[in-house]
Amino acid sequence: MTTGCILQIALLLCFSITALSRSFNLLQFQQRSTNLECQRLMMKLSGTPESCLNNRTNFEVPKEIEQPRQFQKEDAVLVIHDMLLQIFEIFGKNLSHTGWNETIIENLRSELSDQIDRLKAILDENTEEENPTWENSTTMLWHLRNYYTRIVQYLNAKSYSSCAWTVVWTEIYRNFSFISTLTDYLQN
């Protein structure tokens, strides 16, 4: 057997072993569950006319979130935790002009809060040990927070109008698809 043949067989074995050893852990399951539930609840919030979407602004999602490269599990937990935290805060702002059902908003925030708690428990464990990659991770965090600051500033500028909330709703719904991608990196 030639070396080329042996190499191919070795590669095939490695791939199959990696594929088979992907353990589906509880955290990933819970995160996926939260993602689906939040998207479902968001769909239940009544929409406003399409004309509002003319005011769409590019909030400039950070590149690391939009097209994530290889993420470490700790970084994925940090980023998802912060994203859920910000979405929780945004839905706590002035919603009087939207006419959205309060119970649905409460359910949505409750779901976000529970998953935030679970992720926070893991983060607290990780911060116990000094992490040398903390600097890199926080740089990503600042970019993420700048992005959410832009969204909040937009809402402020538009006085929390119904149209502004429609635009933000679209952006937040898009956020959940980013979170779903990042959930894949919650592997052990």
Binding site: S23, F24, N25, L26, F29, S33, E37, L85, Q86, F88, E89, G92, E106, N107, R109, S110, E111, S113, D114, I116, D117, K120, L123, D124, T127, T138, L141, W142, H143, R145, N146, Y148, T149, V152
Partner: protein
């Protein structure tokens, strides 16, 4: 080239400090500052302060505290550090953890430190005592610890005639939750309320957010039952209050209920098949008794216990696959199996009850099937071998007893004389003998004619070599002719 902007609140300052809080900048963006001194028209060169992210440099200030005393507890309403519109902690309000240090005013020795929620309560206090406390906020993730608030003191009230219910427990029974508590007195009515857990984390007085639990208003017993579907998936706080008609007690300690922790995992359904001396076990999904709206399919692993029916020695296997084989068992023995599902997580120790026990007898060891297969294989393999051997034998026999009489093909190289060749390599089947008399004296007498004779010979030989088909006839003719001529010439 940077775009330097004038910093509002820091222009024409006479002191050495300035406050630029009014600037609406993003606290997560890197900023750079530069300062210079001016006197009249003269200015000093710029001194640049290294770039920094305001959030990273920021320190947590003291939180604001508002206290309300009960008889054996104090409600601590904490507002997060900073003002309502402060940008710095706007995104981290939910992440603050507050630790409270509380002591009796009389003796500062008796100190206690507790972590509380913003709308939290401190329990297990003595009535009619002055307590003092201070609070600090902490952002664990960003490794920031704030400074303590000023000390606040409050008096606990006179002990209430009616104590609050204690030891609240939540159990699950069928499709309902059972809320139980203890109470010292008889003949009381109780009511229970619930609150979504996240309200405790956000600031403000959320006492208006507590709602009645259906089925738990004015109950006489120290327990109440309500269906599970009252609470959708999530975390809640429950509290109970006693009443005797006129007066009410203070609310009990709040009990946290996490619906996810209460999920009941149904036991799996196993089926078995015995294959030779091993058992093939299939683990199936549990029987669905009712249509659950949120059917949770958690990542599960299965704990299988099996034992020989006669002995008590149990063997345990932990398996993730639902279809596997237990090998190397004793043949013709009855084995019994039971299994349960366990949630695959280190911290969460949740499992179902064991399934029904299933027993099966293993088959007798290495049956004829294997032998048949082995036999067929050997037969298939041995047939070509046998054929080859027989062929070889036949060849041998033919060689020994029935040899072929063909001379080797290149033997004609050994013979130069044509007569011998004709004699030995006769192509026809006829075995005819030719006899001639060749006289030796002929060669001495007729020496001068030999050349002629030789020529004739040569002619003859050339002729014979050409006409190899009618070889024997010509030979006969030519041979006899030659001999007659020789005789005639010899006699003359």
């Amino acid at each position: 080239m940077h775009n330097w902007i004038e910093l509002p609140g820091c222009q024409y300052i006479t002191g050495t400090t300035c406050d630029f809080s009014s600037v609406k900048l993003s606290v997560f963006e890197k900023i750079q500052l530069r300062i210079r001194a001016e006197k009249g028209n003269r200015t000093s060169p710029w001194h640049e302060v290294g770039s920094f992210i305001p959030f990273r440099k920021a320190q947590i200030g003291p939180p604001k505290v508002h206290l309300k005393a009960e008889d054996k507890a104090i409600i601590v309403n904490i507002s997060p550090p900073g003002t309502k519109d402060s940008l710095m902690w706007a995104m981290d309000i939910l992440s603050f953890t507050y630790s409270v240090v509380i002591w009796k005013n009389s003796s500062s020795v008796d100190e206690r430190t507790e972590t509380v929620y913003p709308g939290g309560k401190i329990y297990k206090l003595s009535p009619e005592t002055t307590y003092c406390l201070k609070v600090k906020a902490r952002l664990r993730l960003h490794r920031k610890v704030g400074s303590y608030s000023p000390v606040y003191c409050v008096n606990t009230t006179v002990e209430n005639k009616l104590p609050s219910p204690e030891n609240i427990e939540v159990d699950v029974k069928d499709q309902s939750y059972v809320l139980k508590w203890d109470y010292t007195y008889e003949n009381m009515t109780f009511q229970a309320q619930w609150l979504r857990a996240y309200f405790k984390k956000i600031l403000g007085n959320h006492s208006d957010k507590w709602q009645q639990i259906p089925g738990c208003e004015n109950v006489r017993a120290t327990q109440c039952v309500f269906p599970q579907k009252v609470f959708s998936k999530g975390a809640y706080f429950l509290r109970v209050q006693a009443s005797d008609g006129n007066k009410t007690s203070f609310w009990s300690e709040e009990k946290r209920l996490d619906t996810e922790m209460q999920t009941v995992i149904l036991p799996p359904v196993i089926s078995m098949k015995s294959v030779d001396n091993s058992l093939h076990i299939y683990i199936g999904a549990p029987r669905e008794t009712e249509n659950k709206s949120t059917s949770q399919h958690y990542p599960l692993i299965y704990e299988i216990i099996f034992w020989e029916n006669t002995s008590n020695a149990e063997r345990k296997i932990l398996q993730k696959k639902t279809d596997f084989i237990v090998p190397n068992l004793q043949p013709l023995t009855v084995y019994c199996v039971k299994a349960r599902a366990v949630i695959e997580d280190e911290k969460w120790n949740k499992s179902s009850v064991f399934s029904d026990i299933l027993c099966e007898k293993t088959k007798p060891g290495n049956t004829s099937i294997t032998w048949i297969i082995a036999g067929v294989c050997t037969a298939l393999f041995s047939i070509p071998v046998a054929i080859y051997v027989v062929k070889g034998l036949l060849r041998c026999i033919n060689y020994v007893f029935f040899p072929s009489c063909k001379p080797p093909p290149n033997i004609d190289q050994c013979f130069s004389e044509q007569s011998l060749k004709n004699l030995l390599l006769s192509a026809s089947e006829e075995q005819t003998e030719r006899c001639f008399i060749i006289e030796n004296s002929y060669s001495l007498v007729t020496v001068e004619e030999t050349s002629q004779v030789d020529e004739d010979h040569k002619q003859y030989s050339s002729q014979t070599s050409r006409d190899s088909g009618n070889y024997s006839n010509e030979d006969e003719n030519s041979g006899s002719k030659t001999s007659r001529e020789l005789l005639q010439q010899g006699l003359v």
